[in-house]
Symmetry: C2
Subunit: 216 residues, 2 copies
Protein backbone atom coordinates (compact mmCIF):
# COMPACT_ATOMS: atom_id res chain seq x y z
CA UNK A 1 0.00 0.00 0.00
CA UNK A 2 1.67 3.17 -1.18
CA UNK A 3 -1.13 5.46 -0.08
CA UNK A 4 0.02 8.02 2.49
CA UNK A 5 -2.45 8.64 5.26
CA UNK A 6 -2.55 12.19 6.60
CA UNK A 7 -4.76 11.83 9.61
CA UNK A 8 -5.53 13.98 12.62
CA UNK A 9 -3.12 12.66 15.19
CA UNK A 10 -3.96 12.35 18.86
CA UNK A 11 -0.82 10.46 19.67
CA UNK A 12 2.76 11.52 19.43
CA UNK A 13 4.46 11.13 16.12
CA UNK A 14 7.92 11.67 14.81
CA UNK A 15 8.29 14.90 12.86
CA UNK A 16 11.23 16.37 10.97
CA UNK A 17 13.45 18.39 13.32
CA UNK A 18 12.65 21.54 11.38
CA UNK A 19 8.95 21.24 12.15
CA UNK A 20 9.59 20.64 15.83
CA UNK A 21 11.92 23.61 16.05
CA UNK A 22 9.37 25.89 14.45
CA UNK A 23 6.68 24.55 16.76
CA UNK A 24 8.80 25.30 19.81
CA UNK A 25 9.77 28.77 18.62
CA UNK A 26 6.12 29.62 18.05
CA UNK A 27 5.27 28.40 21.54
CA UNK A 28 8.13 30.48 22.95
CA UNK A 29 6.80 33.63 21.30
CA UNK A 30 3.36 32.96 22.75
CA UNK A 31 4.77 32.40 26.24
CA UNK A 32 7.01 35.47 26.23
CA UNK A 33 4.10 37.61 25.04
CA UNK A 34 1.76 36.16 27.66
CA UNK A 35 3.99 35.82 30.71
CA UNK A 36 7.06 37.90 29.99
CA UNK A 37 10.61 36.75 29.58
CA UNK A 38 11.43 36.04 33.22
CA UNK A 39 8.32 33.91 33.68
CA UNK A 40 8.91 31.88 30.53
CA UNK A 41 9.92 28.41 31.64
CA UNK A 42 10.67 25.24 29.76
CA UNK A 43 7.60 23.65 31.28
CA UNK A 44 5.39 26.47 29.99
CA UNK A 45 6.86 26.42 26.51
CA UNK A 46 6.62 22.67 26.06
CA UNK A 47 3.10 22.60 27.49
CA UNK A 48 2.10 25.37 25.05
CA UNK A 49 3.59 23.34 22.21
CA UNK A 50 1.75 20.25 23.44
CA UNK A 51 4.98 18.32 23.76
CA UNK A 52 7.02 16.84 26.56
CA UNK A 53 9.43 18.51 28.96
CA UNK A 54 12.67 17.21 27.56
CA UNK A 55 12.08 18.07 23.92
CA UNK A 56 13.69 21.49 23.98
CA UNK A 57 17.00 20.04 25.06
CA UNK A 58 16.66 17.45 22.34
CA UNK A 59 16.19 19.99 19.55
CA UNK A 60 17.92 23.11 20.93
CA UNK A 61 20.38 21.76 23.50
CA UNK A 62 19.49 24.44 26.04
CA UNK A 63 16.94 27.09 26.94
CA UNK A 64 19.39 29.85 26.09
CA UNK A 65 19.75 28.51 22.54
CA UNK A 66 15.99 28.27 22.11
CA UNK A 67 15.68 31.93 23.10
CA UNK A 68 18.42 32.96 20.70
CA UNK A 69 16.78 30.99 17.89
CA UNK A 70 13.49 32.70 18.70
CA UNK A 71 15.03 36.16 18.55
CA UNK A 72 16.81 35.33 15.33
CA UNK A 73 13.55 34.09 13.78
CA UNK A 74 11.71 37.31 14.63
CA UNK A 75 14.59 39.48 13.44
CA UNK A 76 14.99 37.56 10.17
CA UNK A 77 11.28 37.69 9.52
CA UNK A 78 11.21 41.47 9.87
CA UNK A 79 14.38 42.07 7.89
CA UNK A 80 13.45 39.81 5.01
CA UNK A 81 10.02 41.42 4.74
CA UNK A 82 11.66 44.80 4.60
CA UNK A 83 14.32 43.79 2.12
CA UNK A 84 11.62 42.37 -0.11
CA UNK A 85 10.05 45.81 -0.34
CA UNK A 86 13.27 47.74 -0.76
CA UNK A 87 14.72 45.53 -3.47
CA UNK A 88 11.42 44.94 -5.23
CA UNK A 89 11.13 46.07 -8.80
CA UNK A 90 7.36 46.43 -8.54
CA UNK A 91 7.45 49.69 -6.66
CA UNK A 92 9.89 51.32 -8.99
CA UNK A 93 9.25 54.89 -7.90
CA UNK A 94 11.10 55.98 -4.76
CA UNK A 95 7.94 57.51 -3.31
CA UNK A 96 6.11 54.21 -3.74
CA UNK A 97 8.84 52.32 -1.96
CA UNK A 98 8.75 54.71 0.96
CA UNK A 99 4.98 54.36 1.16
CA UNK A 100 5.30 50.59 1.02
CA UNK A 101 7.82 50.77 3.85
CA UNK A 102 5.36 52.72 5.98
CA UNK A 103 2.58 50.29 5.17
CA UNK A 104 4.83 47.40 6.11
CA UNK A 105 6.03 48.87 9.41
CA UNK A 106 2.44 49.37 10.56
CA UNK A 107 0.88 46.32 8.98
CA UNK A 108 -1.04 44.05 11.31
CA UNK A 109 1.52 41.33 10.63
CA UNK A 110 4.43 43.40 11.96
CA UNK A 111 2.61 45.17 14.77
CA UNK A 112 1.04 42.06 16.22
CA UNK A 113 1.13 42.41 19.99
CA UNK A 114 2.93 39.15 20.60
CA UNK A 115 5.71 39.95 18.16
CA UNK A 116 6.20 43.41 19.64
CA UNK A 117 6.23 41.96 23.15
CA UNK A 118 9.00 39.58 22.13
CA UNK A 119 11.06 42.37 20.55
CA UNK A 120 10.94 44.45 23.70
CA UNK A 121 11.50 41.50 25.99
CA UNK A 122 14.78 40.81 24.22
CA UNK A 123 15.75 44.46 23.99
CA UNK A 124 15.25 44.68 27.74
CA UNK A 125 17.73 41.88 28.27
CA UNK A 126 20.13 42.89 25.52
CA UNK A 127 22.32 45.14 27.63
CA UNK A 128 23.57 42.21 29.65
CA UNK A 129 23.51 39.52 26.96
CA UNK A 130 26.03 40.14 24.19
CA UNK A 131 24.42 37.55 21.93
CA UNK A 132 21.02 39.27 22.04
CA UNK A 133 22.73 42.59 21.52
CA UNK A 134 24.54 41.33 18.44
CA UNK A 135 21.38 40.02 16.83
CA UNK A 136 19.35 43.15 17.60
CA UNK A 137 22.16 45.43 16.57
CA UNK A 138 22.85 43.54 13.36
CA UNK A 139 19.17 43.75 12.52
CA UNK A 140 19.21 47.49 13.12
CA UNK A 141 22.32 47.98 10.99
CA UNK A 142 20.80 46.15 8.04
CA UNK A 143 17.58 48.14 8.39
CA UNK A 144 19.43 51.43 8.63
CA UNK A 145 21.65 50.83 5.64
CA UNK A 146 18.79 49.87 3.35
CA UNK A 147 16.60 52.77 4.43
CA UNK A 148 19.46 55.25 4.22
CA UNK A 149 20.08 54.48 0.56
CA UNK A 150 16.38 54.79 -0.23
CA UNK A 151 16.17 58.16 1.53
CA UNK A 152 19.32 59.29 -0.25
CA UNK A 153 17.60 58.64 -3.57
CA UNK A 154 14.62 60.68 -2.43
CA UNK A 155 16.88 63.53 -1.32
CA UNK A 156 18.68 63.51 -4.67
CA UNK A 157 15.42 63.39 -6.61
CA UNK A 158 13.76 66.12 -4.58
CA UNK A 159 16.83 68.31 -4.31
CA UNK A 160 16.16 68.68 -0.60
CA UNK A 161 18.72 70.89 1.11
CA UNK A 162 20.39 70.55 4.47
CA UNK A 163 19.12 67.07 5.13
CA UNK A 164 21.32 64.08 5.81
CA UNK A 165 20.00 60.71 4.68
CA UNK A 166 21.83 59.12 7.58
CA UNK A 167 20.16 61.29 10.21
CA UNK A 168 16.79 60.86 8.56
CA UNK A 169 17.14 57.08 8.39
CA UNK A 170 18.34 56.70 11.97
CA UNK A 171 15.53 58.97 13.08
CA UNK A 172 12.96 56.96 11.15
CA UNK A 173 14.18 53.69 12.64
CA UNK A 174 14.14 55.16 16.15
CA UNK A 175 10.69 56.63 15.64
CA UNK A 176 9.33 53.28 14.50
CA UNK A 177 10.77 51.56 17.56
CA UNK A 178 9.29 54.21 19.84
CA UNK A 179 5.88 53.99 18.19
CA UNK A 180 5.91 50.22 18.51
CA UNK A 181 6.63 50.65 22.19
CA UNK A 182 3.62 52.90 22.58
CA UNK A 183 1.45 50.43 20.69
CA UNK A 184 2.55 47.77 23.15
CA UNK A 185 2.41 49.76 26.39
CA UNK A 186 -0.64 51.93 25.76
CA UNK A 187 -2.88 50.22 23.22
CA UNK A 188 -5.86 52.14 24.62
CA UNK A 189 -4.52 55.60 23.88
CA UNK A 190 -2.58 54.54 20.86
CA UNK A 191 -3.78 52.94 17.65
CA UNK A 192 -1.94 51.60 14.64
CA UNK A 193 -3.55 54.28 12.53
CA UNK A 194 -2.35 57.03 14.85
CA UNK A 195 1.17 55.62 14.94
CA UNK A 196 1.26 55.52 11.17
CA UNK A 197 0.08 59.13 10.96
CA UNK A 198 2.95 60.19 13.18
CA UNK A 199 5.52 58.34 11.11
CA UNK A 200 3.99 59.72 7.92
CA UNK A 201 4.18 63.24 9.32
CA UNK A 202 7.84 62.73 10.10
CA UNK A 203 8.62 61.74 6.53
CA UNK A 204 6.29 64.34 4.98
CA UNK A 205 8.15 67.09 6.82
CA UNK A 206 11.50 65.90 5.54
CA UNK A 207 10.55 64.72 2.04
CA UNK A 208 7.51 66.85 1.10
CA UNK A 209 7.57 65.99 -2.60
CA UNK A 210 7.55 62.27 -1.90
CA UNK A 211 5.19 61.84 1.04
CA UNK A 212 1.97 63.71 1.75
CA UNK A 213 1.05 64.81 5.26
CA UNK A 214 -1.47 62.49 6.90
CA UNK A 215 -5.19 63.25 6.74
CA UNK A 216 -7.58 62.25 9.49
Amino acid sequence: MTEVLVQPLRKRRAEPPEVRREQLITATITCIARNGMSATTMAEVTKEAGLSQGIVNLHFESKEKLLIATLRTIADEYNSGQQKILTSSVHTAVADKIQALLDFDFSPRVTRKDKLAVWFAFWGEAKSRPTYQHICSASDIATDAAIRSLFQQAIDEGGYRGISAELLAQGYTALIDGLWLDLLIAPRRFTRKRAKQIATLYLANALPQHIEPPGD
Copy 2:
Protein backbone atom coordinates in the same frame (compact mmCIF):
# COMPACT_ATOMS: atom_id res chain seq x y z
CA MET B 1 27.80 66.18 73.58
CA THR B 2 25.63 67.17 70.65
CA GLU B 3 28.26 66.41 68.01
CA VAL B 4 27.19 63.71 65.61
CA LEU B 5 29.96 61.33 64.66
CA VAL B 6 29.93 60.22 61.03
CA GLN B 7 32.53 57.54 60.91
CA PRO B 8 33.44 54.85 58.41
CA LEU B 9 31.57 51.84 59.70
CA ARG B 10 32.86 48.34 59.25
CA LYS B 11 30.14 46.67 61.27
CA ARG B 12 26.44 46.60 60.73
CA ARG B 13 24.50 49.53 62.01
CA ALA B 14 20.88 50.49 62.18
CA GLU B 15 19.85 53.06 59.60
CA PRO B 16 16.54 54.80 59.00
CA PRO B 17 14.31 52.67 56.76
CA GLU B 18 14.36 55.36 54.13
CA VAL B 19 18.12 55.08 53.76
CA ARG B 20 17.98 51.30 53.50
CA ARG B 21 15.24 51.42 50.89
CA GLU B 22 17.22 53.84 48.79
CA GLN B 23 20.32 51.69 49.17
CA LEU B 24 18.45 48.62 47.98
CA ILE B 25 16.84 50.40 45.05
CA THR B 26 20.23 51.67 43.92
CA ALA B 27 21.63 48.15 44.14
CA THR B 28 18.66 46.84 42.15
CA ILE B 29 19.29 49.34 39.36
CA THR B 30 22.94 48.29 39.24
CA CYS B 31 22.03 44.60 39.10
CA ILE B 32 19.38 44.97 36.42
CA ALA B 33 21.78 47.02 34.31
CA ARG B 34 24.59 44.52 34.79
CA ASN B 35 22.80 41.18 34.65
CA GLY B 36 19.38 41.89 33.19
CA MET B 37 16.01 41.52 34.82
CA SER B 38 15.71 37.74 34.70
CA ALA B 39 19.16 37.27 36.27
CA THR B 40 18.52 39.77 39.05
CA THR B 41 18.18 37.75 42.25
CA MET B 42 17.72 38.75 45.86
CA ALA B 43 21.16 37.35 46.62
CA GLU B 44 22.74 39.56 43.93
CA VAL B 45 20.93 42.69 45.03
CA THR B 46 21.69 42.31 48.72
CA LYS B 47 25.31 41.44 48.00
CA GLU B 48 25.60 44.54 45.80
CA ALA B 49 24.14 46.60 48.64
CA GLY B 50 26.55 45.00 51.09
CA LEU B 51 23.71 43.78 53.26
CA SER B 52 22.25 40.47 54.26
CA GLN B 53 19.86 38.18 52.40
CA GLY B 54 16.73 38.79 54.38
CA ILE B 55 16.77 42.56 54.34
CA VAL B 56 14.68 43.06 51.23
CA ASN B 57 11.76 41.21 52.75
CA LEU B 58 12.17 43.33 55.88
CA HIS B 59 11.97 46.64 54.03
CA PHE B 60 9.94 45.77 50.93
CA GLU B 61 8.03 42.64 51.89
CA SER B 62 8.79 40.90 48.60
CA LYS B 63 10.99 40.96 45.52
CA GLU B 64 8.07 42.06 43.38
CA LYS B 65 7.53 45.13 45.55
CA LEU B 66 11.20 46.03 45.42
CA LEU B 67 11.06 45.94 41.64
CA ILE B 68 7.94 48.09 41.56
CA ALA B 69 9.54 50.60 43.93
CA THR B 70 12.60 50.68 41.69
CA LEU B 71 10.54 51.36 38.57
CA ARG B 72 8.56 54.04 40.37
CA THR B 73 11.77 55.73 41.52
CA ILE B 74 13.17 55.90 37.99
CA ALA B 75 9.87 57.09 36.54
CA ASP B 76 9.39 59.77 39.21
CA GLU B 77 12.93 60.98 38.77
CA TYR B 78 12.43 61.47 35.05
CA ASN B 79 9.00 63.03 35.33
CA SER B 80 9.93 65.46 38.06
CA GLY B 81 13.02 66.59 36.14
CA GLN B 82 10.86 67.21 33.12
CA GLN B 83 8.09 68.96 35.01
CA LYS B 84 10.69 71.22 36.58
CA ILE B 85 11.68 72.43 33.12
CA LEU B 86 8.16 72.79 31.74
CA THR B 87 6.76 74.69 34.70
CA SER B 88 9.88 76.76 35.29
CA SER B 89 9.57 80.50 35.02
CA VAL B 90 13.26 80.90 34.17
CA HIS B 91 12.88 79.80 30.58
CA THR B 92 9.96 82.00 29.86
CA ALA B 93 10.19 81.84 26.08
CA VAL B 94 8.59 78.78 24.50
CA ALA B 95 11.64 78.21 22.31
CA ASP B 96 13.88 78.18 25.38
CA LYS B 97 11.69 75.63 27.10
CA ILE B 98 11.76 73.35 24.08
CA GLN B 99 15.54 73.63 23.92
CA ALA B 100 15.77 72.90 27.64
CA LEU B 101 13.63 69.82 27.08
CA LEU B 102 15.99 68.56 24.40
CA ASP B 103 19.00 69.24 26.62
CA PHE B 104 17.34 67.36 29.44
CA ASP B 105 16.33 64.33 27.37
CA PHE B 106 19.91 63.86 26.20
CA SER B 107 21.71 64.95 29.33
CA PRO B 108 24.24 62.47 30.74
CA ARG B 109 22.05 62.16 33.81
CA VAL B 110 19.03 60.90 31.86
CA THR B 111 20.89 58.84 29.26
CA ARG B 112 23.07 56.98 31.74
CA LYS B 113 23.40 53.41 30.52
CA ASP B 114 22.18 51.84 33.73
CA LYS B 115 19.05 53.96 33.87
CA LEU B 116 18.21 53.22 30.23
CA ALA B 117 18.81 49.53 30.81
CA VAL B 118 16.33 49.57 33.67
CA TRP B 119 13.71 51.41 31.62
CA PHE B 120 13.86 48.86 28.85
CA ALA B 121 14.04 45.92 31.20
CA PHE B 122 10.71 46.98 32.68
CA TRP B 123 9.18 47.88 29.34
CA GLY B 124 10.09 44.40 28.17
CA GLU B 125 8.14 42.87 31.04
CA ALA B 126 5.32 45.41 31.03
CA LYS B 127 3.07 43.56 28.59
CA SER B 128 2.53 40.76 31.08
CA ARG B 129 2.67 42.77 34.33
CA PRO B 130 -0.21 45.20 34.69
CA THR B 131 1.52 47.05 37.54
CA TYR B 132 4.59 47.82 35.45
CA GLN B 133 2.34 48.81 32.57
CA HIS B 134 0.40 51.22 34.75
CA ILE B 135 3.52 52.95 36.02
CA CYS B 136 5.12 53.19 32.58
CA SER B 137 1.89 54.27 30.96
CA ALA B 138 1.12 56.86 33.62
CA SER B 139 4.60 58.27 33.16
CA ASP B 140 4.06 58.49 29.42
CA ILE B 141 0.68 60.18 29.81
CA ALA B 142 2.09 62.86 32.10
CA THR B 143 4.98 63.44 29.70
CA ASP B 144 2.69 63.63 26.69
CA ALA B 145 0.24 66.05 28.23
CA ALA B 146 2.92 68.50 29.36
CA ILE B 147 4.76 68.43 26.05
CA ARG B 148 1.56 68.74 24.06
CA SER B 149 0.62 71.99 25.74
CA LEU B 150 4.12 73.37 25.17
CA PHE B 151 4.03 72.46 21.50
CA GLN B 152 0.55 73.95 21.20
CA GLN B 153 1.95 77.27 22.42
CA ALA B 154 4.70 77.05 19.83
CA ILE B 155 2.19 76.28 17.08
CA ASP B 156 0.04 79.24 18.11
CA GLU B 157 3.03 81.58 18.29
CA GLY B 158 4.48 80.48 15.00
CA GLY B 159 1.19 80.25 13.18
CA TYR B 160 2.22 76.83 11.86
CA ARG B 161 -0.42 75.28 9.62
CA GLY B 162 -1.60 71.72 9.34
CA ILE B 163 0.26 70.50 12.41
CA SER B 164 -1.39 68.85 15.36
CA ALA B 165 0.26 69.40 18.74
CA GLU B 166 -0.94 65.99 19.79
CA LEU B 167 0.69 64.18 16.88
CA LEU B 168 3.86 66.18 17.29
CA ALA B 169 4.07 65.46 21.01
CA GLN B 170 3.36 61.76 20.68
CA GLY B 171 5.93 61.61 17.90
CA TYR B 172 8.50 63.40 19.99
CA THR B 173 7.98 61.06 22.93
CA ALA B 174 8.20 58.01 20.69
CA LEU B 175 11.31 59.35 18.97
CA ILE B 176 13.03 59.91 22.32
CA ASP B 177 12.23 56.36 23.42
CA GLY B 178 13.56 54.97 20.15
CA LEU B 179 16.74 57.02 20.35
CA TRP B 180 17.32 55.88 23.91
CA LEU B 181 16.98 52.31 22.70
CA ASP B 182 19.65 52.89 20.08
CA LEU B 183 21.93 54.47 22.67
CA LEU B 184 21.52 51.36 24.77
CA ILE B 185 21.77 48.70 22.06
CA ALA B 186 24.38 50.23 19.76
CA PRO B 187 26.51 52.66 21.75
CA ARG B 188 29.32 52.18 19.23
CA ARG B 189 27.42 53.45 16.21
CA PHE B 190 25.29 55.83 18.19
CA THR B 191 26.33 58.76 20.35
CA ARG B 192 24.38 61.09 22.56
CA LYS B 193 25.30 63.96 20.29
CA ARG B 194 23.97 62.14 17.24
CA ALA B 195 20.74 61.22 18.99
CA LYS B 196 20.23 64.82 20.00
CA GLN B 197 20.81 65.98 16.42
CA ILE B 198 18.10 63.64 15.23
CA ALA B 199 15.60 64.85 17.79
CA THR B 200 16.53 68.47 17.04
CA LEU B 201 15.97 67.86 13.33
CA TYR B 202 12.54 66.44 14.08
CA LEU B 203 11.51 69.55 15.97
CA ALA B 204 13.22 71.94 13.56
CA ASN B 205 11.20 70.51 10.68
CA ALA B 206 7.93 70.99 12.52
CA LEU B 207 8.63 74.24 14.39
CA PRO B 208 11.19 76.06 12.20
CA GLN B 209 10.82 79.44 13.92
CA HIS B 210 11.48 77.95 17.33
CA ILE B 211 14.20 75.38 16.79
CA GLU B 212 17.17 75.58 14.43
CA PRO B 213 18.34 72.57 12.43
CA PRO B 214 21.34 70.86 13.99
CA GLY B 215 24.86 71.75 12.87
CA ASP B 216 27.71 69.25 12.92
